[in-house]
């Protein structure tokens, strides 16, 4: 059951009504059983076992860590608890990758297959809630979070259905207290929650799914294209994945808001970032702040005596892990490493850059800012090639052919037209362009994320309802045929 499915449109009102008519002290039971039902609807029984294992181990070790006063003991228990979580994640997600590569290596050495290759299993949600569990154990160990003694609330913190499949990765100090607050019907939350949900649905089914058709056509057969189609598909993918993932997040946040719960916003107009480092403060924020707090900072602090080089190594390791987290494949590893490399180079280049800008008197100018946004967007889009490509071979093929034949393509109007539309009909192109323009005007002209929705709510009723109707009709009429699953479900 996914957010864009008919089942979910039945499930959500049903669980809300049960929740509404249940007294406060039992409400956690409604949300917890609803969350487990939601996760069980994936029809993978072992996933429930994994979820329960993570809940139980993290709950127990959280209590154990908090109960000890000796620093050494606390640390040991933290590592055991985090180790169990990591072992679960590796077992679920990385065994096929590890055994496959080990097999290749052993074959090269001994000339024959020695170890069996593990089959790929569905692990939807595991990377998200395992990371959340590790953040909880870290916070308890660092004594910035008390351990939770109520197993029910703790289990709900791990499994709350709006965020179980694809995040946001919530910190305990932000989500746990909200789950315990008595519920009171709040008209504003209800309205803005439903609106945010609809907005996310629009981004997903009208824009992302439509662009996906174009992107899939090219990347599904990367051999057949050179030049402009590859460039168009790569930029289209940059927009597709943003619409897909931020659309999902809007739907998660919108759902949670119906229950008066505010989840962390994952996006803040990332493609307006002026550096790759800033991009990561605006893209998948709950994940990048996890990396920052629990991986980058500890590594960087440990290597602080190496000054800039310490930060460089910490960056490379962090983004290598980030790549691996997204998927057990070399394409993701390279994608992550590329981001690490971008930032590492930026760290080393910074002193020179400062001087250069001063000399050229560029500091604080609009031109410089636009140039930086343009460069950042292109660096990020280039890295997406690895993220999207089906294999390393495909990725390198795309990159080497990116500009092949571009001159002739740009020279001939009919070829130009053909490569820009990539088989997408005039109608689909118009819908995509119009929806995208609508989205950009609304989202990117605001200072705060999702401010456009707040502003809309202050408008007079005839404007509000026209927009509501428009949005719903637009979704109903122009959803891309062939609904796609969310990109980030795979991670």
């Amino acid at each position: 059951m996914f957010f864009n499915s008919i089942e979910y449109f039945l499930f959500l009102p049903a669980i809300y009504l049960i929740f509404y008519f249940t007294p406060d002290r039992f409400r956690w039971i409604v949300l917890l059983s609803g969350s487990i039902f939601f996760y069980a609807s994936l029809m993978q029984p072992y996933l429930l076992l994994v979820l329960f294992g993570v809940m139980l181990a993290t709950y127990v070790f959280g209590k154990l860590i908090a109960a000890r006063s000796e620093e050494k003991e606390k640390k040991r228990l933290f590592w055991i608890g985090a180790g169990i979580n990591l072992a679960i994640l590796v077992g679920m997600k990385y065994l096929p990758f590890i055994t496959e590569n080990l097999d290749l290596l052993l074959k090269a050495i001994f000339g024959k297959s020695i170890i069996p290759i593990s089959p790929v299993i569905v692990s939807i949600g595991v990377s998200f809630y395992v990371f959340q569990a590790i953040s909880y154990l870290s916070d308890v160990y660092l004594e910035i979070q008390e351990s939770e003694s109520h197993f029910g609330y703790f289990a709900l913190y791990i499994s709350f259905f709006p965020k179980i499949l694809q995040g946001p990765i919530e910190r305990a100090n932000s989500l746990l207290p909200q789950l315990k607050k008595p519920y009171e019907f709040n008209y504003d939350n209800m309205r803005s929650g439903l609106l945010l949900f609809t907005w996310g649905l629009f981004k997903k089914v009208v824009i992302a799914d439509r662009l996906a058709e174009l992107v899939n056509r090219v990347y599904g057969n990367a051999n057949a294209y050179t030049g402009l189609p590859l460039i168009v598909a790569t930029y289209a993918y940059a927009i597709q994945i943003y619409m897909d993932f931020s659309g999902y997040t809007d739907m998660a946040l919108g759902t949670a808001r119906l229950f008066n719960i505010n989840l962390t916003d994952n996006f803040n107009r990332p493609y307006l970032a002026t550096s790759v480092a800033e991009f990561w403060r605006r893209w998948h924020i709950s994940f990048s702040s996890w990396l920052q707090d629990y991986l980058f900072k500890p590594l960087q602090m440990r290597m602080r005596n190496w000054k800039s080089w310490g930060s460089v190594i910490a960056l490379l390791i962090t983004f290598f892990i980030s790549g691996l987290w997204h998927g057990a494949a070399w394409t993701f590893v390279i994608w992550g490493f590329l981001h690490g490399l971008y930032m590492a180079v930026a760290v080393l280049y910074k002193p020179l850059q400062k001087k250069l800008y001063k000399k050229l008197k560029l500091n604080g100018t609009k031109i410089l800012k636009l140039w930086k946004i343009f460069m950042t967007f292109n660096l990020v889009s280039f890295a997406w090639i690895f993220f999207r490509a089906e294999s390393l071979r495909d990725a390198s093929r795309v990159i080497t052919n990116l500009f092949t034949g571009l001159g002739t393509q740009l020279g001939s109007l009919s070829v130009l037209k053909q490569s820009l539309s990539l088989g997408l009909g005039k109608f689909d192109l118009a819908v995509a362009a119009f929806s995208l323009a609508f989205m950009i005007v609304l989202e990117f002209t605001n200072r705060e994320n999702n401010e456009h929705l707040l502003r809309l709510q202050k408008k007079p009723i005839y404007i509000r309802w026209v927009v509501y109707y428009f949005l719903v009709m637009w979704i109903a009429l122009f959803s891309a045929t062939g609904s796609q699953e969310f990109v980030y479900f795979r991670f």
Partner: protein, 80 residues
């Protein structure tokens, strides 16, 4: 000079800005240029100037200037 004043001096030096006036409740958001990279330089400068060493756990739990200051005081105190 008090520890807090010395700390203020180190901040001015590391962030290359003489106008910084520290307050205990200040965080990275209140000081221009205070990001994760300059934070390392700041910590290194503090450790050298005061001849102290922070533990990994301490470095990961400072929430603001006040926390940092308290920890420095405590370390200087225990050395006496």
């Amino acid at each position: 000079m008090t520890t807090f004043e010395r700390l203020n001096e180190i901040f001015c030096e590391v962030f290359d800005d003489d106008t910084i006036e520290l307050k205990p409740e200040m965080t990275a958001n209140d000081v221009d240029g205070w990001d994760s990279l300059s934070y390392v330089n700041l910590i290194l400068a503090i450790e050298t100037k005061f001849a102290i060493t922070f533990s990994q756990k301490e470095l990961l739990t400072f929430r603001n200037v006040g926390d940092l200051h308290k920890s420095i005081e405590k370390k200087l105190e225990s050395r006496k």
